[in-house]
């Protein structure tokens, strides 16, 4: 069981690649940088695949397989609860899913980047950061305790900052990087407090030791812990109210948006909630909060996506929205549905971003959809892959997104923690999602070209970009099939596979009636799901988008004029950034400048230091006058000393006697 014993290899390979490229890559030719970067991730993928193969050879009792490599931190040995953190990695079914998704999609995006970034400066730096990100993400998903996971958590935040601000000479990019880091920091603070509470409550931070104890802890304590941990997820996975960094993160190169802000980093929050499911299941209030935040975010973000014109911004809001669905799934107890959607989302959202990158590359850097149009015939591969991905995200039957989204909405409607309002928000969000995604496709690829055809030479992307698109398109279609059949009464392999991970949640929750009694036969189930609301609204969205952007393209402008207020509200993303700036950022800056800078730093700290110097100089200046060169003043001082000494002497003698 070589690789299982040496899980760290999977992590170390990208780290090595990052180090080599970072330290020496400046002098490498592009081909060398490529080999190191893509090679390390490819090897990591192969190692992960091998580890998975070995995993399937394990007996059920050995899962989760935990291996501790060295003791990292030990503190307070004398006390009752020593703080012990090992660098330990584990692998269970959930880890298998995450490993495969992260390494495979990561590998594809690395390959894509060799084409996309071919003409950009800082080539080696990009791949060094990208590899570093892979290392941290893999640490996050394989960590066997909260601290190792937190290392990965923070590390991906760092890489996100580095990569968003990759074009650091551009002010908006640098600002976006800072914004991402700072906003996620707010969530990370709650997360840290949550970890501390976990330690205080359980006496340990290792998953294997926390989860068995979960049943003994009182509900309010668990609820608090879960809410605190969830705030970290709100930041990292861009939910309301800490989502504001994700749209700005589109300043980074498109492969970065694809990898980090669609497929992997932002899903870290979902992974964390799924991983901590024994705690969440025993804290229904926390679960409800998770579900509410997820559902509201899903709906809210979708509404903003309607009015955006930048192709990447639409996809960014779409990501926020889809993440909301994943949290909705976890919040209603359908953890495997949430992870399933995570996986399919990695496929189709990654594809959407890469295809958008291909469009931007073809258009020579143009990102505004209003300046595109009619690209269908010119970049057919990009068009078809993007169209497939859109079908997937809209939940059209047959594509991956259909199965995952349907599972989520089913759980929201009929599951153990079902809630009608949440379901309604989800379905409405799905309708809007379908609408704006097809709007994106129609605006970009259909209609007459709205750009100067002489200035922009639209050309298809090279093979190292189109092949990953193709692979992801394939996965967007067939990637959902092996979980599908629950609805058609078949295998439901995915949920069964993940069942052991969520077992304690299942037992902690009373089982509610499953699917309605009518859907007993496979055929009936199929019909039921095909005529379910998610499909209806998905198709509805497609139709509306077709009507507005192909049949009557003049209508959107008319509606925007007539509903100008609402339109502006959506276009300006509900002015949330402005509100935050006024309510939070400006007061904070004011306090920083006037209080902390002027008063504390300049006044108190500098004052103490300068004051010491001033006092020293002043007293020195005064004391200097004793040495006046005047003999008689010397005499006077001597006498003064004599008087004082005599008094002291007599006093001491008095006391001693």
């Amino acid at each position: 069981m070589f690789l299982l014993d040496h899980l760290w290899i999977i992590l170390a390979l990208p780290l090595l690649g990052s180090a080599i490229n970072g330290l020496f890559g400046k002098n490498f030719p592009k081909s060398a940088v490529n080999s190191v970067a893509v090679g390390s991730v490819a090897l990591s993928f192969l190692s992960a695949a091998e580890a998975v193969r070995e995993f399937f050879l394990l007996a059920p009792a050995q899962i989760p397989f935990v291996k501790s490599y060295f003791t990292w931190m030990v503190g307070g040995e004398a006390s009752a609860h020593p703080f012990r953190v090992d660098f330990a990695l584990q692998i269970d079914q959930l880890t298998v899913v995450m490993l495969m998704v992260v390494t495979f999609v990561g590998m594809l995006i690395h390959i894509y980047s060799t084409g996309y970034m071919a003409h950009e400066g800082g080539y080696y730096r990009f791949f060094s950061y990208l590899n570093l990100f892979m290392f941290f993400m893999l640490t996050l998903v394989t960590g066997a305790n909260l601290i190792v996971m937190f290392v990965g958590w923070e590390g991906v935040g760092l890489c996100s900052y580095l990569l968003i601000g990759f074009y650091f000479l551009k002010k908006s990019a640098a600002d976006a990087g800072k914004k991402a880091f700072i906003v996620t920091r707010i969530g990370d603070f709650g997360f840290t407090v949550g970890i501390l509470m976990v330690f205080a409550t359980f006496g340990t931070v290792a998953f294997g030791e926390i989860f068995p104890q979960a049943g003994n802890i009182s509900e309010p304590v668990l609820t608090t812990i879960c809410i605190l941990l969830f705030t970290g997820a709100i930041g990292k996975s861009a939910q309301l109210p800490l989502y504001v960094w994700l749209p700005d993160a589109m300043e980074g190169p498109t492969p970065v948006s694809a990898l980090i802000h669609a497929a992997t980093m932002v899903t870290a929050g979902v992974y964390m909630v799924a991983r901590m499911n024994p705690l969440f299941s025993r804290a229904p209030v926390a679960m409800l909060i998770v579900a509410i935040v997820g559902a509201i975010t899903a709906f809210y973000s979708a509404t903003i996506g309607i009015a955006q014109t930048d192709i990447k911004k639409v996809l960014a809001y779409s990501t926020v929205s889809q993440l909301g669905y994943m949290f909705l799934a976890c919040g209603v107890g359908a953890y495997s549905a949430g992870i399933f959607h995570l996986m399919t989302h990695a496929f189709f959202k990654g594809l959407l971003f890469l295809a958008a990158g291909s469009v931007i590359h073809a258009m020579g850097g143009e990102q505004d959809m209003m300046k595109m149009g009619g690209l269908r015939k010119k970049i057919p591969v990009t068009y078809w892959t993007m169209f497939i991905a859109t079908l997937a995200i809209a939940g059209i039957p047959g594509f991956a997104g259909f199965f995952s989204k349907d599972a989520i909405l089913e759980a929201a409607k009929d599951g153990p923690h079902a809630n009608f309002i949440l379901w309604l928000l989800g379905v409405t969000g799905a309708a809007i999602t379908s609408f704006y995604m097809f709007r994106l496709v129609f605006l970009t690829f259909f209609g007459k070209p709205r750009y100067d055809e002489h200035k922009v030479h639209v050309h298809e992307s090279p093979a190292n970009m189109t092949v990953p698109l193709g692979i992801l398109a394939f996965l967007s279609i067939f990637g959902g099939w092996f979980a599908a059949p629950k609805l058609i009464g078949g295998l439901d392999y995915f949920e069964k596979f993940l069942a052991p991970v969520f077992a304690s949640s299942a037992s902690a929750v009373e089982s509610a009636p499953e699917a309605p009694a009518e859907a007993t036969t496979p055929t009936m189930a199929l019909v039921h799901s095909l005529t379910g609301w998610p499909v209806i609204v998905g198709v509805l969205g497609l139709l509306v988008a077709w009507y507005l952007y192909i049949k009557r393209p003049d209508l959107p402008k008319k509606w925007a004029q007539s509903m100008r207020g609402l339109y502006l509200l959506l276009l300006n993303k509900y002015y949330v950034d402005e509100i935050y700036a006024a309510l939070i950022v400006r007061p904070l800056l004011w306090i920083s400048t006037n209080v902390l800078w002027h008063v504390v730093d300049e006044g108190a700290i500098d004052g103490v230091v300068n004051g010491t110097a001033t006092v020293a100089r002043g007293s020195g200046g005064e004391l200097r006058k004793i040495q006046s060169g005047n003999t008689r003043s010397y005499a006077a001082w001597v006498i003064l000393g004599a008087v004082g000494f005599t008094a002291l002497l007599f006093g001491l003698l008095e006391v001693a006697h």
Binding site: S633, A635, A636, I639, L640, L653, E654
Partner: protein, 167 residues
Amino acid sequence: MIPLILFILCAALAIAGAIVLIWAHEPIHSALALILVMVALAILYLLLGAPFISAVQIIVYAGAIMVLFVFVIMLLNFGLEERTNFSKLAIPGALLAVVLMAEIAHWLAHSSIGRAMANGPAAPATEASTVELSKMLFRQYLFPFEATSILILIAILGALVLARKES
């Protein structure tokens, strides 16, 4: 009776001499006043039963050191001492001196040690004779004795070096 009169007389002379030392305009007057003080003190030493010291005081202090002072004063005949313009720190200095005196007086009067010592002297058990004194000098205090003799030697050399004309 007689000791008391003698004491008061000598004390008065000593204090008078000291005051003349302060008040005199010419240094030679101050020197002579100091000689008077020393003589008065010598008598007081006699009263205290230390004849040897009394003799040494007259011979060495008044007879040699003060003669040296007079000699130098007359050598450096720079005339009258000008009217002093007071150094500003002198007045506090003088005040401090007064404070010092008062301090010691207070201490003598009120502290336990002072009161213990305020009683009159007991009848002397040991005669403060020369024999006894020299026994002490040459036994317990031999080292300081020799050291002071070397000190005098150094002083002579120093004085010679200092007073030599630069050649």
